[in-house]
Amino acid sequence: MSWFKRLKEGIQTATKNKKETPDGLWHKCIRCSEMTTIKELREHLYICPKCDYHTRISSTDYFEILFDGKYTRLFDEIKSVDVLEFSDIKSYKSRLDDAYKKTKLNDSMSVATGKVNKLPLTVACMDFGFIGGSMGAVVGEKISRAIDYCIANRTPLMIISKSGGARMMESAYSLMQMAKSSAKLTLLAKEGLPYFSFMTDPTTGGVTASYAMLGDINFSEPEALIGFAGPRVIKETIKRDLPEGFQTAEYLLEHGFLDFIVHRKDLKCKISDLLGCFDTRKPDSELVTAS
C-alpha cells in the first residue's frame, strides 16, 4: 500500500484554495493567492484584503472611486486609424478589433469630468487592458482636448497613467504624442491650473518620459512599477541583477521623483484635500488681497 505513503514532506494547500469555483465569482490574488469573492474585492476597491496588493483596475473603476456619483464622459467619439497599415505577426487592425471587443472601450485613454467631494476635476485615465495601455494618436488627442476643456471650464486636470509606453503600431505618430501632450501641458501651466499625475502599475516608456513625470504633483499607488526602460531591457544592458524593489513607487519616492504614495482607499480624500488648496479662478479675474 505504498501509494498511501507521503513521499514528499511539507505539501500543504489550504483547503479553501483547492476549491473548484466558476469564473467570475472568485478572485485569486496574483501575489498571495488569497481567494476573495469578487463582491468582497470590489468593496475593498480591488485591494487584496490579506496582502494589500493593489489589483489593476479599469478607468471606469477609478472614475467610480473618485467622482461623487455622477460624472460625464468626454471625447469617446475619438478612435484610432491604422494610418501605417502596420502589421507584425498580427495586423494592427485586428489588434484594435480584439481590444474593442475585450474592453468595450474606444481606446486606452478615457476622459471624464465631475466632482470630487464637491470640487470640480477632469480626469484622463488609461486602461492597461487596451493594447497594454499603449499611447497612440488617440491618447495624445484626448489629453490635448482634456486640457482645452480644463482651460475653458477652469478645472484642474488629473491623468492616471497605466501604460507600457508608446504604441509601436503607430510608429513616429505615437512618439510625437510625447511632444504633443507635453507642449499642451505648458498651456495648462500658463493658465494657472494644477495638473496631478497619478502613476499606477505599470507606468513605463514614453508615457513616463512625457506627461506622467510632468505633474505639478506626481504620486502613485503602492508598489507600482514606474520607469523609463523596462526591467528586462536594463538587465540585458548592464548584465547584472537588478536590486530588489528597483523601479517601484517606493524606489521613486526615495529618489525624489514622487511627491507621495497613496493607498487606493485614501485616494479620493487625498485628491479633494489637494484640490482644496488651489484657487482655480483666472489669476487676473479677481485680486486676492490679504486684508
Binding site: E77, I89, A137, T208, F228
Partner: protein, 318 residues
C-alpha cells in the same frame, strides 16, 4: 572605404578601377577608354543602389562607421566654438555635447548627440546613448541661450536614451519629459536636425523645435527596428521587416507631416563627402534662422505648439 552589404557591387567595381589606375601609372598600355567606361558604370551602379534604398538600408547608412557626427559638423560649420560641460547637478554626459559658437556672424547654441569614432571613444561617448545628465545639460544650455536671445540648433543622432540602472535612478524619464515641456516654450528659435539615428524619446529629448529636418539617409521613429522586432515578433531576426513596417525614412516622416523637410546628402551618403554635407547643412541653418529670427517670440511659440498639437491621425465616430 567600408562597404555595407548592399554596396558590394560597388566594391568590386572600385577594385577593378584601382587595377586600371595601376596599369595607367605604368604607362605602357593606354587604358583611358576603359577607365571612362568603368567610371560610367560606377555612376550608374551608384544611382541604382542609392535611389532604391529600403528602410533597413537607410538604417544601415545612418549607422555607417565613417558617418560624420555632431562635433565634426560643429567644427566645419561654426567658428569660435566653446564646449560647455556639465548639468550642474551630477555629471558631464559625454553622449551629448553642446556649446556657444558663431555661424558666420550669428551666435548660436549648438547641441547634439555625440558618438565615438573608434572602440575607445565609442565607449567614452556611450555609443551616443545619453543619461539624464545629458538631457539636463542640454536643457541648461538651452535656458541660458533663451536668456541671451541666442537661437538653438540641435543635432540628433542616437540609438536611444541609455537604459541603465543609474539612468533610472537619476530619472531618465523625468529628464526627457522636462525637456519636452521646456523646449515647447523656449522664447528663441529652435532648429532640430536628425543627422543619423533618431531613436525614440532619446532623440525627441533634444528634438522639440520650430522646425525639424532629417538628412536623407537617416531614420526617426518610436523604437529601433531591432527592439521592435524583439517585442512584436518576439525575436531579433525581423529587423528588416520591422524597419519597413515602422515607415521610419525621411520620406515617410515628411509625408506624415512630422518633419519639415529632407536635406539631400552626397550620393552614397554624408560620409562620402562630409565637407560638402557640412556646407549644405550650414547654408540650411542660416536660411532657416534668417526666417525664424524676425518672428515675434510669442507668435513663434504659438505656432510651435499648434504644430505639435496637430500631430496624429484619428477618426471621429458617432
Amino acid at each position: 572605404m567600408i562597404y555595407l552589404d548592399f554596396e558590394k557591387p560597388l566594391e568590386s567595381l572600385y577594385e577593378q578601377m584601382e587595377k586600371l589606375r595601376d596599369v595607367e601609372a605604368e604607362g605602357t598600355v593606354d587604358v583611358a577608354e576603359s577607365i571612362k567606361e568603368l567610371e560610367k558604370k560606377i555612376q550608374h551602379t551608384k544611382k541604382e543602389i542609392y535611389s532604391n534604398l529600403t528602410g533597413w538600408q537607410r538604417v544601415q547608412l545612418s549607422r555607417h562607421p565613417e558617418r560624420p557626427y555632431t562635433l565634426y559638423y560643429i567644427e566645419q560649420i561654426c567658428k569660435k566654438f566653446t564646449e560647455l560641460h556639465g548639468d550642474r547637478y551630477f555629471a558631464d554626459d559625454k553622449a551629448i555635447v553642446g556649446g556657444l559658437a558663431k555661424i558666420d556672424n550669428l551666435s548660436v547654441m549648438i547641441i547634439g548627440h555625440q558618438k565615438g569614432t573608434n572602440t575607445k571613444s565609442r565607449q567614452y561617448r556611450n555609443f551616443g546613448m545619453a543619461n539624464p545628465d545629458g538631457y539636463r545639460k542640454a536643457l541648461r544650455l538651452m535656458k541660458m541661450a533663451e536668456r541671451f536671445n541666442i537661437p538653438i540648433v540641435t543635432l540628433i543622432d542616437t540609438p536611444g536614451a541609455y537604459p541603465g540602472l543609474e539612468a533610472e535612478e537619476r530619472g531618465q524619464a523625468e529628464a526627457i519629459a522636462r525637456n519636452l515641456f521646456e523646449m515647447a516654450q523656449l522664447k528663441v528659435p529652435v532648429l532640430c536636425y536628425v543627422i543619423g539615428e533618431g531613436a525614440s524619446g532619446g532623440a525627441l529629448g533634444i528634438g522639440v523645435g520650430d522646425k525639424v529636418f532629417m538628412l536623407e539617409n537617416t531614420w526617426y521613429t518610436v523604437i529601433s527596428p531591432e527592439s521592435c522586432s524583439s517585442i512584436l515578433w518576439r525575436s531579433w531576426d525581423h529587423k528588416e521587416e520591422a524597419a519597413e513596417a515602422l515607415k521610419l525614412t525621411p520620406e515617410h516622416m515628411l509625408s506624415f507631416g512630422l518633419i519639415d523637410d529632407i536635406i539631400k546628402e552626397p550620393l552614397g551618403g554624408a560620409h562620402v563627402d562630409p565637407e560638402k554635407m557640412a556646407k549644405t547643412l550650414k547654408a540650411h541653418i542660416k536660411a532657416e534662422l534668417g526666417e525664424l529670427m524676425p518672428q515675434d517670440a510669442e507668435e513663434r511659440i504659438r505656432i510651435r505648439i499648434d504644430k505639435y498639437d496637430n500631430m496624429g491621425k484619428y477618426q471621429i465616430v458617432e
